[in-house]
């Protein structure tokens, strides 16, 4: 009888547990994310311990699928193999990730501070120009760097713009290797840091800084002792995001590192895959997950309960801008010039590349619009029918990419929003923590491993309906972009006090109505922005799709890759430019129409007004 009672109480408890919609959602998401995130993670783990077809069979003398520690012992045995295939690239990746993150945070942080705390001139212009490098794929920036700084003294000896115009010959370390990789990574992610840190600065209670002013602390001291420590959690999570991207970056070190043999873990992972050392490739690939997890842990330790605090107070209306006085004009003009150099000019340089009949020959007679507008025989000889603007393949690929981006964004954004709601309402519980971190992990899983695993899933009998389906790529991109979407969801939900919902509960409004009629409308702009970010990221994603789309011509970005591989550089550049322009247009149109923008999506409601 006793146990029956006990059972009853348990049932009752479970019953009460599920009356709260946040709990139901958490349980559903916990299951969903376990399947979508933990499964790929564990599959990767498995790959590190089994024998694959090909060379691994020969080397281990075992059968395919057998358990083995070979990959680990081989990779970490020491000696030159470990050195060149793991430790040196590991060091390079770490330096690149670290340098890129530090630089990105410095650039983004300084600009965010200037925008949020001073009376800097031309804020609107600076703010929108500064976002360009983030909208452009990082590798376009790398190519731009080469175009600018390559010179007759280094590498192939091609005269770059700087040498051509000013006779400036930069030394090798400036043109190739770690230094430019860090610069390009920092420049690419600087805007991202700006958005994140700027958002926090906007929401941070200004009196915290004002009270330090009154207590006679200098400007620098305030930044160092008050502002920085307070925004540290945001800075650290920005650091984590940039570090992981820099650590795992492939194309930027490929373009800028090859000449001086600056190799990173990603290129070694690729080499291992190419050579059939699949197990070791997975070990190398999972290093970024480990590093990410490590930083995540440090982050959590640093912002432990004792010093935990919310920076969002909502009472930030009375920010008084610091007067830059006579430095205002010089600073703002310098900023505009520098930012233009890395935003508008790369686009122009890029556009010029698409107009050159023979690449690299900068002569007037070599200019052509063939690659954009060409029709008929002459463009047929260039490998395709017509310039890209008259090409059916390009347009249908663009259409599908668009549809995919929107579908993926709807998935990621909506799930992210519900996760945001559920996690915020049940903050502090184990389940909420689990869901929150599970939603973050897809960010750390390399795109190649991610798509390989989903390909394998889609070829099983049970899930064969997913194979080659549009739904599969939408699902995969949705999961991959979930980290941003759920961060955004959590941020926007954190800004709404519980009372608003409780007011609804008291008068008996059902939960879905509370969400859709009360909470979501309040955070409309930031939620819209949360949808926008995956759209834009998805518009330029390549790695995730090459394995999963039925044909390289299926999406615009895979088509781009195809052009690249075949060597149709002008077409490739034209498609890239098309993507960048579309992304920029998307962002500004949505900002005009709904007020939503990438900046708001990441920053959780931050916006900088002009002055």
């Amino acid at each position: 009888m006793k146990s029956l009672n006990k059972n009853k109480t348990i049932f009752n408890r479970i019953g009460t547990f599920f009356t709260k919609p946040a709990n139901c959602m958490l349980v559903i998401f916990a299951i969903l994310l376990t399947a979508l995130t933990l499964y790929p993670l564990l599959s990767m783990l498995r790959e590190m311990f089994v024998v694959h077809a090909g060379i691994e069979k020969t080397l281990t003398g075992l059968k395919k699928g057998n358990f083995t520690l070979f990959h680990w012992t081989k990779l970490f045995k020491g000696g030159e193999w470990s050195m060149t295939n793991y430790w040196i690239p590991f060091l390079n990746s770490t330096l690149l990730g670290f340098g890129g993150a530090v630089l990105g945070i410095m650039i983004g942080g300084v600009i965010a501070w200037l925008m949020a705390r001073t009376n800097l001139k031309h804020k609107k212009l600076i703010g929108s120009l500064f976002l360009f490098p983030y909208m452009m794929p990082a590798w376009t920036m790398a190519l731009y760097w080469l175009n600018m700084f390559q010179n007759s003294k280094v590498g192939a000896g091609i005269v770059g713009v700087m040498e051509g115009l000013f006779g400036l010959c930069m030394p090798e370390w400036f043109v190739y290797g770690l230094f430019p990789c860090i610069i390009v990574t920092g420049l690419h992610f600087g805007p991202f840091a700006y958005i994140l840190i700027g958002g926090i600065l906007q929401n941070m209670d200004a009196t915290l800084e004002e009270s330090a002013v009154i207590l006679k602390a200098g400007r620098l001291k305030i930044v160092r002792r008050i502002t920085l420590p307070i925004i540290m959690p945001a800075v650290l999570s920005t650091f984590l995001l940039i570090f992981s991207s820099g650590f795992a970056s492939y194309t930027v070190p490929m373009f800028l590192g090859g000449a001086v043999r600056f190799f990173t873990l990603s290129s070694k992972m690729k080499a291992m895959f190419n050579a059939g050392y699949t197990g070791q490739a997975y070990i190398i690939g999972s290093t970024v997950i480990l590093m990410g997890w490590l930083i995540l842990t440090i982050n959590q330790k640093y912002t432990g309960r004792k010093r935990s605090f919310t920076t969002v107070t909502g009472k930030s209306g009375q920010v008084s801008f610091i007067d830059l006085k006579r430095f205002n004009t010089p600073i703002s003009i310098a900023l505009i010039v520098i930012i233009t150099f890395f935003s508008i000019i790369p686009l122009i340089v890029f556009a010029i590349q698409t107009l050159l009949r023979s690449p690299g020959v900068y002569e007037f007679s070599n200019l052509t619009l063939e690659f954009w507008l060409g029709r008929g025989e002459s463009s047929y000889k260039n490998g395709m029918v017509g310039g890209i603007l008259f090409n059916k393949t390009v347009w249908s690929a663009l259409g599908r990419q668009f549809l995919l981006s929107i579908t993926a964004a709807l998935f990621a954004g909506t799930v992210g929003l519900f996760i945001g709601y559920a996690v915020v309402r049940r903050r502090g519980t184990k389940l909420a923590q689990y869901v929150e971190s599970m939603a973050f992990f897809p960010y750390l899983i390399p795109a190649i491993s991610f798509s390989t695993i989903y390909l394998a899933i889609s070829t099983t009998k049970t899930f064969s309906f997913l194979y080659n389906s549009f739904f599969l790529i939408a699902l995969v991109s949705g999961v991959k972009y979930l980290p941003f979407a759920s961060r955004g969801g959590i941020n926007s939900m954190l800004q709404i006090s519980t009372e608003i919902e409780e007011a609804g509960i008291v008068v008996g409004v059902p939960w879905y109505k509370r969400l859709f009629r009360l909470l979501f409308p309040i955070q409309k702009t930031s939620i819209m922005s949360g949808y926008l970010l995956p759209v834009i990221t998805c518009m330029r994603e390549v790695d995730l799709y090459t394995l999963l789309v039925p044909n390289a011509h299926f999406l615009l970005t895979t088509l781009l890759l195809e052009f690249n591989q075949t060597g149709y550089d002008q077409y490739a550049n034209a498609v890239t430019l098309l993507i960048i322009v579309i992304v920029l247009i998307l962002n500004s149109v949505s900002e005009k129409l709904t007020g939503a923008s990438v900046a708001k999506g990441v920053g959780g409601g931050a916006s900088f007004g002009g002055n």
């Binding site: 009196t207 915290l208 330090a212 602390a217 008050i226 307070i230 009472k315």
Partner: protein
């Protein structure tokens, strides 16, 4: 010594005028409260004096130093104004312990380490928060945080102390406790206090002078009791005092050299104690609730609409004809609903306001003419 002078100070945000041509002088060791409803410009005024906000026009002097002058382009940073500022939400730095919070300002003054330590402990003792010295703000209650904020503000011993609604986040009991403490602090510290509040009771009980503002315009700048008993206009009269002053529409006429008021359908003779012409017909008579006495000898017939005994005094809503007025009677007296009573207007501080301009035109006593 710190005497603060504001001359023609204005602050505009785009088209919105937050503070309009403000002129006040705050004497050394005053305890000034800036009082007014929310949005009246009181916080902006305080922040302008402190240097956290830049006025659009005017001149501010603290002691002998001009800290702001729009014409001469002087604008001293808050750090150079030698002030202390207590924020409404305390603005304690979440990443520093109580000790670090209090010591921070002293470090900036380049004090020696031992001196800092002894000063911090002195402040901790003064505010009775010694035991929390190594805690973080998030681990303290609202009242404790408030004390830490005060300690932090007082530690460098500023000559002028600005406070922006420092008690508004506390519960009623703690608030009245802290009021007492603040008043003692003021007398102990010989600093000048400028205090922003929207709570008239707080302003009345703490201040040596109240600066009452509305919509950016100064309404009255006087000691609390003057503001209470001799309000410049209906806004001031209405804002100060609880229960609020009774306002009765009346007609004023002159009969046989005497001023006769017609109110409640009755006639009353008004004897002014101010030498101001009374040449208007439409006036509003302002009577404080404690000046409506309920006595059997009263000349006004009324009924008790409701009675709210609070122990020490009783607020009675009195219905005279169709009008409702409040009366406060000492002691706990309960009236039955609609019980017939008699009352009278007793005081020589009855206010007469111009019904159009709402300005005070006279003060004096009223005697109801017998029927």
């Amino acid at each position: 010594m710190p005497r603060i002078v504001l001359e023609h100070v204005s602050k505009r945000f785009d088209k919105f005028v937050a503070v309009d041509d403000l002129n006040i002088v705050i004497e050394d060791r005053d305890f000034i409260t800036l009082l007014g409803p929310s949005g009246c410009g009181k916080t902006t005024t305080l922040r302008m004096i402190a240097g956290l906000e830049t006025p659009t026009e005017g001149r501010i002097t603290i002691g002998d130093t001009v800290v702001f002058d729009a014409e001469k382009g002087i604008n001293l940073s808050p750090a150079k104004r030698d002030i202390g500022f207590l924020f409404q939400n305390y603005a304690l730095w979440p990443h520093m312990t109580v000790y670090q919070n209090i010591a921070f300002g002293l470090e900036n003054l380049k004090w020696k380490r031992e001196d800092i330590k002894s000063r911090v402990y002195e402040m901790l003792r003064l505010l009775k928060i010694e035991e929390f010295v190594h805690r973080y703000p998030a681990e303290l209650s609202g009242g404790q945080q408030q004390r830490v904020a005060i300690a932090r503000t007082l530690a460098p011993a500023p000559k002028v102390l600005f406070m922006d609604e420092p008690l508004s986040n506390l519960d009623a009991k703690l608030r009245s406790e802290m009021r007492t403490e603040l008043k003692r602090l003021h007398s102990d510290s010989d600093s000048t206090f400028v205090y922003v509040t929207h709570d008239q009771l707080e302003a009345m009980t703490l201040a040596t002078k109240i600066c009452l503002m509305n919509k950016g315009v100064l309404q009255q700048y006087d000691p609390p009791l003057t503001v209470y008993s001799k309000p410049n206009n209906i806004f001031v009269a209405d804002f100060v005092g609880n229960p609020t002053m009774n306002f009765i529409n009346a007609k004023l006429s002159e009969v046989d050299g005497k001023h006769v008021l017609s109110l409640f359908g009755l006639y009353a003779t008004f004897t002014a104690n101010m030498n101001k012409p009374l040449n208007r017909e439409n006036v509003i008579v302002g009577v404080r609730p404690e000046h409506i006495a309920i006595t059997d000898s009263g000349k006004i017939n009324a009924t008790a609409y409701s009675a709210l005994p609070a122990g020490m005094e009783t607020t009675v809503k009195v219905k005279i004809k169709d009008a409702l007025v409040s009366s406060v009677v000492f002691g706990a007296i309960d009236y039955k609903t609609d019980q017939a009573i008699k009352c009278d207007i007793i005081s020589d501080q009855i206010c007469i306001f111009d019904a159009n301009t709402k300005e005070l035109i006279s003060q004096g006593s009223i005697s109801i003419n017998s029927l």
